[in-house]
Symmetry: C2
């Protein structure tokens, strides 16, 4: 599939993704490395917490969302480079959940200072196997313009 | 150290953290699992990209920030449970960078519907060894109230 430049996007375009399944061992491994709290580490300890059972770290969900986005049909020239945005977690991700994405283009802005690039704002909803949202992000990405033949410079 | 409840916070309080060093192998390992793009995977391939060299995935920086926050002096009763917020990446994290946090309490809001909990909004700046910000988050956390003797219910 050809790579996409800023000129290839339009507000309202949508993109889907593949699916990724999360198991208990992966939830605990991520948590041991990055988010060592009882509700992400141990089924038994998790029962008496806010989550009432083992749940993935929100940052694990965010990282899995990035994996799905990188592997999705959104093939950005120069890669997916995030500047920042908003993020919310709607419900826990549980062992055995299978996640996929629904992404929509919200805004397209050429850069005023750099003719070779611009930004797009994407809303990416991460859904579980019941089509319930577990995470929503609205992120600004740096995107190359088609006129730019060489590597982008900030 | 005693755990902190909603009543223990005041706007303007600040918290520091320990430090974590990031090396090239960790950057590549995270990228292979969650963000497989050339500028996170390979020094040589990264040179001709937006980042002009190997850089950590922003989600890796976010995950390391969570690790530092969990291990910091911010000891929340019930754990650190994020609802969402804003996030921005100010500059790349490079191999060998050593990160630490500066966290400030921005808002404190008791829940209107649940007398056992509330929310605090924290601004957490992730700084490198040169005291330059690499990431800033403004996140809302669910926090238990001291009156709550048992596990929190949403």
């Amino acid at each position: 599939m050809a790579e996409r430049f800023l000129e290839d996007f339009a507000v309202g375009q949508t993109y889907s993704s593949g699916r990724v399944r999360v198991d208990a061992e992966e939830i605990k491994l991520f948590a041991r490395t990055f988010d060592p709290q009882p509700f992400h580490l141990d089924e038994e300890a998790a029962r008496s917490t806010f989550f009432h059972g083992l749940a993935a770290s929100g940052w694990h969900t965010a990282a899995l969302t990035m994996k799905l986005l990188v592997e999705s049909e959104l093939k950005l020239a120069g890669g997916i480079v995030g500047a920042g945005g908003e993020l919310s977690w709607e419900r826990p991700v549980r062992p055995g959940d299978e996640l996929h994405l629904h992404t929509e283009v919200l805004e397209i802005r050429p850069s005023r200072s750099n003719p070779h690039q611009g930004r797009i704002k994407l809303r990416t909803t991460t859904l579980n196997q019941d089509e319930k949202p577990v995470q929503t992000t609205m992120m600004n990405l740096v995107v190359q313009r088609r006129s730019n033949a060489g590597p982008a410079a900030e």
